[in-house]
């Protein structure tokens, strides 16, 4: 292998100030986070940043050469965009390095009121074609697109040749197999929209019940899964539920599995990807430290022209299993 002609950026999650410090210390090039409200797609209880915490976190990161991006990537409620506008205004005032968003109106607001603020297109926009990405670039000046987790590596390479923006892909963490930003499964089960309220399968509607040596997971009124003795459990999203259909019990859409692309990072770089994103703002700082360190080692090895090391991340994956997802579509 030969070394990289350009550096690849490692973009890491932070749900709390402690996780931000953990990500920076573990070698993140950039950290992404959200405000403590429904303007971001990880609006989980006890998670996220106040304005003061963001200011402190920004200082910590910038002193160490790490950038900070703020996700304002839910879709504003009709007729009530003020909370989202304030989030953009505050992010600009605090001088974050970029904002990540999906809503057309919010992109327009940001481009008009804060033309100096760097715009990244969230995965929530589900922009998977060159035409869509070019539109966001030409209309609002987006500089980077975070690609939905449905594209194969050759499709990413094709996109790369046809769009004038940087491309970011998810390389590790929870997998969303639906059309992101458009999925209504959680809304159907709980009345809360991940795209507007900021939480897929909100914890307020989740229940785990111990029944003997089994554990039953529920979302709202729906039983999502029953895990047998010793079987790894998962978070009860409808898309990763185990249901009975035609007399068979199976995962109808997707098994509880984590994305892990350690083995295909060089192919992703060759396809034109400029930044690698780690999912998991809702996870703890131990997760952040372990995953960021692992991918820092891998990216640095690739930069030196070496093969990335095989690092065991089984212990922190959902369901104890890993997949390279749509990038390789190994199931086909």
């Amino acid at each position: 292998m030969t070394g990289l002609s350009r550096p690849v950026e490692l973009v890491c999650p932070a749900g709390t100030p402690a996780a931000l410090r953990a990500a920076v210390d573990a070698g993140a090039d950039s950290v992404y986070l959200g405000f403590r409200d429904e303007t971001n797609a990880r609006n989980f209880p006890g998670l996220n940043f106040s304005r003061d915490e963001l200011a402190t976190g920004l200082a910590y990161a910038h002193e160490r050469g790490t950038k900070v991006f703020v996700a304002i990537n839910t879709f504003p409620r009709a007729g009530a965009p003020e909370l989202w506008h304030k989030a953009v205004d505050d992010a600009a005032r605090l001088k974050v390095d970029a904002v990540i968003m999906a809503d057309l109106g919010l992109c327009d607001y940001t481009a008009r009121h804060h033309p100096e603020l760097r715009l990244h297109l969230s995965v929530q926009a589900s922009a998977s074609s060159a035409e869509a990405i070019r539109f966001y670039h030409e209309a609002f000046g987006i500089r980077r697109a975070i690609l939905p987790r449905v594209l194969m590596v050759p499709e990413i390479a094709d996109l790369s040749a046809r769009v004038p923006v940087e491309m970011e892909v998810f390389i590790f963490g929870g997998l969303c197999v639906m059309a992101e930003g458009r999925c209504s499964l959680s809304s159907y089960a709980t009345g809360k929209s991940p795209n507007m309220n900021g939480a897929c399968s909100p914890a307020s509607h989740v229940r785990y019940t111990e029944k003997g040596d089994k554990v039953v997971s529920q979302l709202g009124e729906f039983t999502i899964n029953t895990f047998g003795a010793g079987e790894p459990a998962g978070y009860p999203t409808l898309c990763k539920g185990r249901f009975e259909a035609n007399g068979r019990l199976s995962y109808l859409f997707e098994e509880p599995t984590s994305l892990n692309t350690l083995s295909i990072l060089p192919q992703l770089i060759a396809a034109g990807v400029t930044s690698f994103k780690i999912e998991g703002r809702q996870r703890g700082r131990a997760y952040v430290t372990n995953v960021v360190k692992a991918f820092r080692l891998a990216v640095d090895a690739i930069s030196r022209g070496e093969t990335p090391p095989d690092i065991d991340l089984d212990g922190i994956t959902e369901g104890g299993r890993q997949t390279s997802g749509a990038y390789e579509r190994s199931w086909q």
Partner: protein, 226 residues
Amino acid sequence: MSNPRTERSRPVDPPFSPILLAGMALGPVPPRFLQPLFDAILAVVRRRHPDILDRLTAYPDAVIGIDPVDLPFVLLLEPKPDRPRLTVYRDFADLPVTAVIRGPLAMLIALGEGRLDGDAVFFSRQLVIEGDTEVIVALRNAVDGAGIDMEADFAATVGPLARPLLQAARVGGWLFRRLADDMALVRQALVGPALKSADAQAARLNELEGEIVTLRRSLRQREQRT
């Protein structure tokens, strides 16, 4: 609580460890004698990590049960912003808990210090949560986000005595780990053969399940052809 578990139960097996032995020794001690220790711990949390209670302000009426399964008592955390309480009880009987988190003490401490990932230990079934998941998630995020370092908290609390006490604690920690290793060896000697036999049976069961899946598939294919 929608699904109360009001009696002390053991959905998580306590590990065979020095903590379990210490718990047995503590068994006869009435919980009220332990209460001053937990009052002191809460006072340190309020002084050094006020952000924990700040992140729990949305749950002023929550009553969170914490069950260290290797100790003979449980804790009740009430994160009321103006008057938080951490109370020790023998068990949860008749207590109106909103949610409960159960796990071995060492694991709960590691989670508190951010050395373990809460999702990972929960998904691997080493930790059990019951009741209001939202409250537990909020507590997990609040504690994880505080960046707790127990050694630093301890040092800041005891002031000039910090250095000798920390040195004593380190020696104690070394002895604890030695004892834990020895106990793990004893456990291995006692249950190792039985575990090997169970593993072999589980492997055979997996094989049989695989064969059943294959047979069902071929049966379905045959049915579709006819």
